[in-house]
Point group: C2
Chain length 308, copies 2
């Protein structure tokens, strides 16, 4: 099978809106309305770096799109379209079929359209560039946290990091943890609901400590958070009871939950969103004038995830 057959067979889904031109020409075309902005983000996943070698095609495809949807969620954007650059060592049709159907299912769920791409031969790697849309000047930035803001995170932190640690130690994580690691749910709806309510937002991909620090640095503020307030699932809570290893949730990464800051006045709106969406939103601290990140209850320094 050559590249064009491959694209025609697996990636020309012919489900585009009439105002879009997708797979099959030199470029994809997108019309947009005024008073809106596009939000675009790119992420690469590489085998043996971002996912283990035996990860299923289904999970690889899911995660490659989910991490980009998570970036759109962190801006409050509504997913619109994405391009896919796929590097494959060989053409394995059974692998491609699973990859394609998983990618298609997730893209359908979040109504994001595949409009173009490139396939090349090499070590397995997936680069997705996802674009969303949102009302002009309403995006949830990292740079606009205010002193006195409450700091919230969605759901629980550290689940994926514990799964990854267990995989590395040749233990089999339980299905719930493995699901958080392989197929994290991007918080797209939550991000949209936070538009106009919160002051700043980021998705937690490299670890809570490092990602919250991005908000603080960009906003020129500090924060005080309490480790005992960080929401944990039972498995991570037990792990920490056994090991006191708070670095796992603080710097493990791969959570794809949202961390946001909100004024005291809007905190009740966060509570309403929590009830409406049935997603746990937990207050873990407060934004301070002092430009450090103080983690109350942590007596050591954690090593953050490094890309190199």
């Amino acid at each position: 099978m050559n590249e064009f057959d491959l694209i025609e067979k697996y990636f020309n889904w012919k489900n585009l809106n009439s105002d879009m031109l997708g797979v099959g020409d030199d470029c994809a075309l997108i019309s947009i309305e005024t008073q809106h902005q596009l939000a675009t983000s790119v992420d690469t996943l590489i085998e043996d770096v971002h996912f283990p070698k035996n990860t299923s095609a289904h999970d690889v495809a899911y995660k490659a799109l989910a991490v980009n949807l998570s970036d759109l969620a962190a801006m409050g954007a509504t997913p619109l379209y994405f391009t896919l650059a796929l590097t494959l060592p060989t053409i394995d049709e059974s692998w491609l079929k699973d990859f394609s159907s998983s990618l298609k299912a997730l893209s359908k769920k979040y109504d994001i359209q595949l409009i173009g791409g490139d396939t090349t031969k090499g070590a397995l790697s997936i680069t997705i560039n996802a674009t969303g849309i949102l009302p002009k000047d309403q995006a949830l930035l990292r740079s606009t946290a205010k002193v006195g803001d409450y700091i919230f995170v969605s759901n629980t932190i550290g689940d994926a990091a514990l799964a990854w640690q267990q995989i590395q130690n040749n233990k089999k994580p339980n299905p719930k943890l493995l699901k958080k690691f392989n197929t994290p749910e991007p918080q797209v709806v939550l991000g949209q609901k936070l538009l106009g309510i919160v002051n700043s937002c980021i998705d937690i991909s490299d670890g809570l400590e490092q990602d919250l620090s991005h908000i603080l640095n960009k906003s020129g503020v500090g924060a005080k958070i309490n480790i005992s307030d960080i929401p944990l699932c039972d498995e991570v809570a037990i792990y920490i009871e056994d090991t006191y290893d708070w670095c796992l949730p603080l710097s493990g990464g791969d959570d794809y939950e949202l961390c946001f800051t909100v004024s005291k006045d809007n905190a009740d709106k966060v509570e309403s969103i929590e009830k409406e969406l049935d997603v746990a939103l937990t207050k873990i601290g407060i934004v301070t004038e002092n430009k450090d990140l103080e983690i109350v209850g942590l007596d050591k320094t954690c090593k953050s995830y490094q890309h190199f």
Copy 2:
């Protein structure tokens, strides 16, 4: 150096328009006017597949952006912004400096802004997603060639393929050929000029025969071209005199010239553009009703470039 330092040092150029938000948040943001469309394209270059192992960082960066600009050119789009997904085996600051400055120089030349990206560790690979803008419903498509159209190509064909063949045979190509292979000039201005004048267009990346066939297949037409009309530089002309190897220009690829079809009535406008831009535009054949590509003067079948 960690990822954030790397991005800050080499890719946060802080030269964005005021209506754009680029490097440094979860997503890049882009506002656009109405009555326009965005055109977006993605291409991956991998070491040892798309460029030889000893290619300079300057040339790698140049080509990675140029091939995407060439896709925008083929639609007639004006370059607007791009994202960069860069996979590197190690952090080599001297390499990065050359890569960054070359990328920046070419992006400045074509007024295209780097608005986001991702860096990862792995075998050297560059994925660029470039986006341009153009008036609604005016894009130069592959699917709209008409029977009777004249077929044109820009400049000369086969230069890069000859350079690549010489490199593979451990010969040193002359500087002019090497320049066409390593740092091809994307036909951005030509593409823009062709808007509203030609019926279809493609950039020649995989070889004239294969790429022209894309126009024919998408348009449901055929073509008759004459090999003796294909414009060649002196080196390729001599090579063909020696070898009769017409497959080199026909299927060698990496030309990044434009191939377009134009009605007889508009052919004089092509002549005017040729003079205005000082770029050679050569008529090589005609679009036919018979759905084959007839290459007059070719007595064998060439093997097209295959991505796998």
